[in-house]
Amino acid sequence: MSKLVASIREAIEKCELRDGMTISFHHHMRNGDYVLNMVLEEIAKMGIKNLTVNASSIFDIHEPIIGHIQNGVVTGLECNYMGAKVGKAISEGVLEKPVIFRSHGGRASDMEKGTSVIDVAFIAAPTADDMGNCTGKLGPSACGSIGYAFADAMNAKKVVVVTDNLVPYPLVGFSIPEVYVDYVVTVDQIGNPAGIVSGTTKITRDPVGLRMANYTAQVIEASGLLRDGFSFQTGAGGATLATAQYVKEKMLAKGIKGSYGMGGITGYMVDMLNEGCFQALLDVQCFDLKAVESIRTNPKHMEVSATQYAGVSGKSAGVDNLDVVLLGATQVDLDFNVNVHTDSNGYIMGGSGGHCDTAAGAKLAIIIAPLTRARLPLVVDRCLCISTPGKTVDVVVTQRGIAVNTKYGKNAELKEKLKAAKLPVVEIEDLKQKAEELAGVPKPVQLGQKVVANVLYRDGTLLDVIHAVR
């Protein structure tokens, strides 16, 4: 027996994909992914219409999806993150039906709860055997963890593994087992690993960024959480990486043995593991090729599914035990709500990813962002979109002051600790005022009536909507 089929077309036919169904993709190849475009192009040629695409993330490389929306092949879109190119088209109203945004944990859990039903999942697999055992750790297009694809594999009605590196059965060290897979298809290339490294994955040299990082590391230290057993997640932004560097130095200097590092994993977290700051890394996706190499070779660098990372459908998740998470923001409002979905003009250029999941789970959720970005104040009266509710956010660090969220009857003690550490603690209103003194008060952005996206919280409830731009 073999599950190998000759082409993507044959796999689509055998899966009996019909008008109106939902197909899914994962995004570990990030901006180097070829599979989503390849599959949609074939579907378009076959004349299938009215599909919903549920992709864990949409990157700029997926721009051709705009054409498929315009010609009716794709009429629904669900994702956890959307890059600025497709985001602009969505914000301008190209899609009739609102996009559904979820978080990384929420997407997996909605599939497991059955509230998000996938008819056919296409899994870009850097290495697979002909029965569908597959992994991201090996092969010419290795991307490391394929943590977001587990929920798709386990819950979709039909599962197609797409690989460019077919190996003899059984694949040693598979991530997703054959039990979930219906068909396997080989293609020339599933993607370009160089595209995995996207966005800022280098430590900032900008003095503003370094000052924010320095403050943030001091906040972590003053919080009392930086002790043996410490668990930590950072993103891949320049200032958060610089913070990780400072945290590493403090841990090494004091001989602190942390528990785990989690999230999208960069080479900086790998260094922390290798230098003894953590017992293990829990990796749901690799942000650079150093992380890919590490997950392949170091047993302490472990792959986790989106559910185990951040879901609400399991009996527990990694985020539940997280001490500190460092997060970004395009806007923060006076209630500490955070926007990471839209820019200050209301254009979609991001998404929650694991933002709201980790903020909800972590003991200390820190937002790091400059007081103004290209003149626009970070702190506003009301975010254009609430991506993460303020009640789950603890501290906002800017280069001009640190605001502690005491609005929800918490963090009073933390605030005193930060003051005692001589950190520049201010109120969130002060950050808004300081920015406006420098930059002037921005004229409020006028948005259209049409709702172009619904933002679901990790538990599946509606958190906010995003309006079209004018």
């Binding site: 200050s344 003009n345 970005r373 290209a374 003149r375 626009l376 420098l438 930059a439 002037g440 921005p442 004229k443 952005v445």
Partner: protein, 88 residues
């Protein structure tokens, strides 16, 4: 002060502005900005203030603003004008 020749000041870095001035029979101000929706009025007012102070009555002032604050915009405009007209 007159704009006798074309000149420029500034950069296209984030939080800066690139200002070009050219001779013209009328006064024209062209604003392009990443924060146009939020700050266009303030940018125009800032430029007009510099033109008033320097007594510039004619010329074409084009700004490509990458989110500079008022004092930066005004410094760039002033420099471009002085480069175009010579001091005194």
């Amino acid at each position: 002060m007159n704009i006798k020749t074309s000149a420029a000041a500034g950069t296209l870095e984030s939080s800066d502005a690139y200002v070009m001035v050219e001779p013209s029979d009328t006064l024209e101000i062209a604003i392009e900005s990443v924060v146009y929706n939020q700050y266009a009025d303030q940018i125009r007012a800032g430029i007009e203030q510099v033109l008033d102070q320097l007594g510039v009555k004619t010329g074409r002032i084009s700004i490509n603003d990458k989110g500079a604050v008022d004092c930066v915009i005004q410094a760039r405009v002033e420099t471009a004008i002085k480069r175009a007209g010579g001091e005194g």
